[in-house]
């Protein structure tokens, strides 16, 4: 068992949740989403995000529109659909529960 794999799996697990959260208030195109995630050190390489975005879009949680760019190719602006918003709400709840649970468990361990 490699520590990198476990780390990557942990990150990938919350990645969908984070992508949806980034798009919570306003639409964004891939580079913007990437910047946010990279700043948060959640993403090391960009490649991971593309299959995830496509999957979320195919699941009906995201939609996108094309916008011309002054520098470079046209950009895909992603936004949340109604389903996506509900989905995000659910995930938020789950996340806080999970966060609580993990905090309790890990703090117990350290206090021992």
């Amino acid at each position: 068992m490699k520590i990198e794999n476990t780390k990557a799996q942990m990150r990938k697990g919350v990645l969908e949740f984070c992508i949806l959260s980034v798009l919570k208030d306003n639409d964004a195109y891939v580079a913007e989403i990437l910047d946010t995630l990279k700043d948060a050190k959640l993403l090391v390489v960009e490649g991971t995000i593309y299959p995830l975005l496509t999957r979320l879009k195919n699941a009906g949680l995201l939609n996108y529109r094309w916008e011309e760019s002054t520098s470079g190719p046209p950009r895909k602006y992603y936004g949340l659909t109604e389903t996506g918003k509900l989905f995000l709400k659910e995930l938020n709840t789950t996340w806080s529960e999970l966060h609580n649970a993990v905090t309790i468990v890990t703090s117990q361990k350290t206090s021992k």
Binding site: K12, V30, G47, T48, P51, A59, P74
Partner: protein, 609 residues
């Protein structure tokens, strides 16, 4: 100095160094391979290309700037290795299962490994598939070839049906390694090494000229780029031997295809020998093998035998072929398909055959729809107390052996040398009549599709008999022309005899008479060879031996008593008690009691009274 290439990435134009271009191309190829179509591969790739174009755009200050391998490496490090694109499906279970299998647990596929082949690469392909050394597979082939040559057939079959590993990805799949960029690169590098080896060998044998090539190869191999030297080596080391190899391989392929066609016929036929047997009947019919007349005679529906055989062949053979094909398909998972057209054609032929067989069956059955008979009446000049004898006549031309045989029919030639059907389905029924003279009624019976046909066939039955003053001679067989087919022809001879006549059935009529008194016959198989007097619906045997007398003789003696049973009577004795039954009556006595029953009356004596 470096050559550049113009590329269009997401609608944006870029100048790019050739080596950088090749690297980028391989990178995109590898990413493409890590997705399946169900994941939205083309869309993902388009997004990635767009992002790469954006990243390049950031790095290009003006239109004249060229993208070098440095920029490509930067972009790749930002985007991540192809492995990073893989989404872990254990977390996302809504993914289709197939993609999971294809990526994280690559299963081996059976291909022919033409890189390590003696003939068609089947052995090395199988060795890869089972993860064993090729030598064992080859030894197994040799053993199988000695095993009645099945090895050869099987080899050719696999050669035709198993696809060759052509692309690098297929070659990797063959060995069961996961298909990713690292493996593909490794494989290509291996390819170089072997090509370099070949080039070196050529260099040794041919001389300095080739050595230059190998030098350039080793120089090129030092470069990071892998594809370019490969091409140059391939073109420069295309030697006489390679060409010869190509020619041989071409002939092998043509040969394989030719064998393949043959094989489909041979393979199917050997697997289903039963079907071939059926088919051979059809062939035998076409070339008129004697003995098949029999089949023709039974075949009242007049359907050609070859047609029936062919229909049966298809009706039974096609499902078997599909079974055979299915078996192969299960055995080899990437077996070439026989194509939908072929499948549906076979299915169609099969359905037609089934329908055809049903039609033939109905036709055959309808031949027996009507069962009609023709009657011939003959008066017998016989009166009460006359004696009549009945005998069967046999004919040397027909092997009837003088015994009746239900539904048996044979083909023979009659006196004129013509073919004729004969049968021994003759029955004799004897009945009594109160008329003064007797009758012999011959009832000829046959089946047919219609009333007329049945009557016509019944009329066409030849049956001979001779009636003289005190003798009836009946043929033990009937015969008819083969064109009448075998349609249950039978003859029943009804013999009506006046009461009081005496009849004697010869021993050879035994099997033509009923065994029991069935259908109102008064003479059965048991009554042959005896003089029988006809009574009203009965017979009296005149020379039957008188039934033997009751002959029981029991004489058991014991210390305390005895038991005797004989023609005189019965006697039981126990101690002083006894019981005797004889012509005088019943006589019983015990210690103090005496019982006597006789003509004189019943007397009971007791000592007490």
């Amino acid at each position: 100095m470096n050559k550049t290439v113009n590329i269009n990435l997401a609608g944006i134009f870029f100048h790019i160094d050739e080596d950088a271009y090749l690297k980028l191309q391989r990178y995109l190829e590898a990413i493409k391979r890590s997705f399946t179509d169900s994941q939205g591969r083309s869309e993902i790739i388009a997004d990635i290309e767009a992002r790469i174009a954006e990243l390049f755009n950031e790095r290009v200050e003006n239109d004249k700037q060229v993208i070098r391998i440095k920029e490509v490496d930067e972009v790749i490090s930002i985007m991540g290795q192809p492995e990073d694109y893989l989404v872990d499906d254990e977390i996302f279970e809504d993914e289709p299962k197939t993609s999971y299998k294809a990526k994280s647990s690559p299963s081996r596929k059976l291909f022919r490994d033409t890189d390590n082949s003696y003939i068609g690469g089947v052995s090395s392909g199988l060795a890869h598939y089972f993860g064993i050394d090729t030598i064992w597979v080859r030894l197994a082939w040799i053993l199988l070839i000695f095993g009645a040559g099945t090895g050869i057939l099987l080899y050719i079959l696999l050669w035709v049906l198993v696809p060759e590993a052509k692309t690098t990805a297929e070659k990797i799949m063959m060995t069961g390694e996961p298909v990713n960029i690292s493996n593909i690169e490794k494989k290509i590098r291996d390819g170089f090494d072997s090509v370099t080896d070949v080039a070196k060998n050529v260099g040794d044998s041919v001389g300095a000229a080739a050595k230059n090539v190998s030098d350039s190869v080793s120089n090129a191999a030092k470069n990071v780029d892998l594809k370019k030297p490969a091409n140059s080596i391939k073109s420069s080391s295309k030697t006489f031997f390679d060409t010869l190899g190509d020619v041989i391989m071409f002939f092998f392929k043509v040969f394989a295809k030719f064998i393949g066609v043959l094989l489909m016929i041979i393979g199917a036929s050997t697997l289903i020998a039963l079907i071939i047997a059926l088919f051979s009947i059809g062939v035998a019919d076409i070339i008129h093998i004697p003995g098949l007349d029999m089949v023709d005679i039974v075949n009242a529906g007049n359907t050609p035998v070859w047609l029936v055989s062919l229909l049966t062949f298809f009706a039974v053979g096609i499902p078997f072929f599909f079974l055979f094909y299915l078996g192969l398909k299960i055995l080899i998972n990437n077996l070439k398909s026989i194509g939908n057209i072929a499948k549906f054609t076979l299915l169609g032929v099969w359905l037609i055959s089934i329908i055809g067989l049903v039609v033939v069956g109905v036709r055959q059955a309808s031949e027996h729809a009507y069962d009609e008979s023709v009657i011939e009446k003959n008066e017998l000049n016989i009166k009460a107390n006359d004696t009549l004898s009945v005998k069967m006549m046999t004919n040397d031309l027909f092997e009837t052996s003088g015994f009746r045989n239900d539904d048996s029919f044979r083909i023979s030639r009659n006196e004129n040398g013509e073919k004729t059907i004969y049968s021994s389905d003759i029955r004799i029924i004897v009945r009594s009549t109160s008329d003064s003279i007797g009758k012999l009624v011959i009832d000829k019976n046959a089946d047919g599709r219609s009333y007329e046909a049945a009557i016509e066939r019944a009329k066409n039955i030849n049956y001979n008999y001779v009636i003289s003053d005190n003798e009836i001679l009946l043929d033990s067989y009937l015969n008819t022309d083969p064109k009448n087919k075998f349609s249950d022809q039978e003859v029943v001879a009804f013999l009506y005899l006046p009461e009081g006549t005496i009849v004697n059935f010869s021993n050879n009529t035994r099997s033509y008479l009923h065994y029991r008194r069935y259908n109102n016959t008064i003479v059965t198989s048991k009554d042959v060879n005896q003089y029988l007097k006809i009574l009203d619906e009965d017979i009296e045997c005149l020379d039957c031996p008188i039934e033997e007398e009751f002959e029981v003789d029991v004489d058991i003696k014991h210390e305390d008593g005895s038991l005797k049973i004989n023609d005189k009577g019965l006697e039981v004795k126990i101690d002083s008690s006894s019981l005797r039954i004889d012509k005088n009556g019943i006589n019983g006595s015990s210690e103090n009691l005496n019982l006597k029953v006789s003509e004189e009356g019943v007397t009971i004596k007791s000592e007490d009274n």
